[in-house]
Amino acid sequence: MTKRIRSIYWALVTLILLTWQSSLLLASPPMRLESLPPVAPKEAAEKLKQAYALLEQGLSAELAYRLAYEVYQKHGIVRAAWFPSWLYRQAKKPLPDPNDRLAVIGSVVEGGHGLPLSMLRRGATSIGLLFRASCALGNYEEIVKWGEMLIQAGNDSYSIIKTVESARLALVQGIKQYPHRRNLSKQIWRPLPLKFREEDYFILIPLDEACKILGLSCTITTNPKMAGGKGIRIVKPDAPNIVYRLFLGRPLVERLENGKGQTETLAYAPYEEDGVVWVPFYWLAKQAGIKGWEVRDGKIYVAPKQGTK
């Protein structure tokens, strides 16, 4: 009897979810340029930019949530878009307003800057970041709260719908928190003897120096035939058949394995300045097998690799 009641219960839950979702789902929403959220004021946009960088680098989701929440409390649903700072330093002519989507795309179509401005342009909304931070924190109530708000605002991509759906199911089962967040003992993390710069809230490191310290095999060669004028290749010692190619000024990585290529994306494009190639640390750390890291007292601290102390 209990089994039967349970099966009816789950059938009802499924039916409700399906009905609810079928009324809301849209996969590739048509652009509604006339009803975009307002652009965040400068100080709020800066907080959104910082929250975005924290999440993309796998750093403090708590801080990212706090920053986005401050913006939401003060300004509601707002959006912000930006170009990386190095682009302003290197651009030979004025860049379009990153919040003006059509101007940015127009610039790409007209080929004015020689760089993929529409890909270098990054952006987020206050509630989009709150949703992402809630996912990173594994907090199902918050996921449902911000996810529903995103859906109501028209951000109803399938992955958001599914995420909210699963979080709802977890809550129905009495589970409020995904239990992956255990305190890592950061006492055993060690500092890296590596200089870095923080730009647009991303931790950037000089590629050649970083590769030596992280044990990666990197080559940077002058190649005027390549975008950015440099050929950059990275190989992990334990996977010599996989080559990663980076491109200056492009947020892309080409992963070549046994001659087959796959394009992957970077949250921050590598760039060259004064002869130094700067790349985002989070990506290089991932290739080096580093499981956790943070910046503390002006140094990058990294977690020991598994099996090491």
């Binding site: 959006r79 992402r132 394009t263």
Partner: protein, 251 residues
């Protein structure tokens, strides 16, 4: 293979190209194959596409293809403009957005493709869960269709992966718990996203800009749910053949 007719013009601003000003090659973000390959689109209903050189000519926002019919310029035909971009400041996690119809368009028939969201939608392999940047999505492994098949340690279908550093043995099993159950390639999905968005440009006048819904449309490229990880598309509007005629822009 069904014979297809070229019926639509597309300019790919994500293609690889030679930049004569700087005398260098620029890598492709959206390979031309994802647009024009005869093998690219699924099954019946999608046309082949005329791929035009995106980095020549001018006229933004309208790229008019002065199509000659015989010796007459019968009417203006427009090329859809495919641009790689980032759409999260408007539609969080969307694979792509379409800005308007192919005809009579105040902006332009622009399609913006978000490669990062496509990658995220396909899902990080769960054996990468220990990467902090992936933790936000790791627990989404519930998306697979056979929830318990590979994950011996999972107590509920929500927990197929233990992303914790203290449980390295689980990584082995997590590797089996991927989101991408049909092992779709990025190129395959990219092809579908472009096709889906192109569908919007010709079906813009329809409700929901052409998304098709209902039980008979699961296989359709313009199906509203677009959950290709579970249900790969096999055709374009076989149940709504009138939609297919909208491709026939070639006068």
């Amino acid at each position: 293979m069904l014979e297809k007719v070229k019926d639509m013009f597309v300019m790919n601003f994500g293609a690889g190209y030679y930049d004569p000003i700087n005398d260098r090659w620029v890598e492709a973000v959206i390979p031309n194959d994802a647009i024009e390959s005869q093998d690219g689109f699924p099954g019946q209903g999608m046309p082949l596409l005329w791929l035009l050189n995106a980095n020549e000519g001018s006229g933004y926002p309208f790229r008019v293809v002065n199509f000659l019919w015989g010796y007459a310029h019968r009417r203006d035909v427009y090329a859809a403009i495919v641009v790689p971009g980032n759409v999260d400041d408007v539609y969080d996690k969307a694979y792509g957005v379409t800005y308007g119809p192919i005809w009579g368009n105040p902006t332009a028939p622009i399609i913006e493709i978000d490669l990062e969201n496509i990658d995220e939608g396909l899902g990080s392999p769960c054996n990468d869960c220990n990467q902090p940047a992936n933790r936000g999505t790791c627990w989404l492994c519930f998306g697979r269709q056979q929830p318990f098949q590979h994950c011996g340690h999972c107590q509920t279908f929500l927990y197929c992966c233990d992303c914790d550093n203290d449980h390295p043995n689980d990584e082995q099993q997590c590797g089996e718990c991927g989101y991408n159950i049909h092992n779709l390639s990025q190129h395959q999905v990219l092809t579908w996203v472009v096709g889906h968005e192109l569908g919007h440009t010709v079906l813009w006048h329809q409700p929901d800009r052409g998304h098709h819904s209902g039980a008979t449309t699961y296989d359709c490229l313009i199906w509203e749910y677009e959950d290709w990880r579970v249900n790969p598309p096999t055709e374009f509007c076989v149940q709504n053949p009138g939609c297919q005629t909208r491709w026939k822009l070639n006068p």
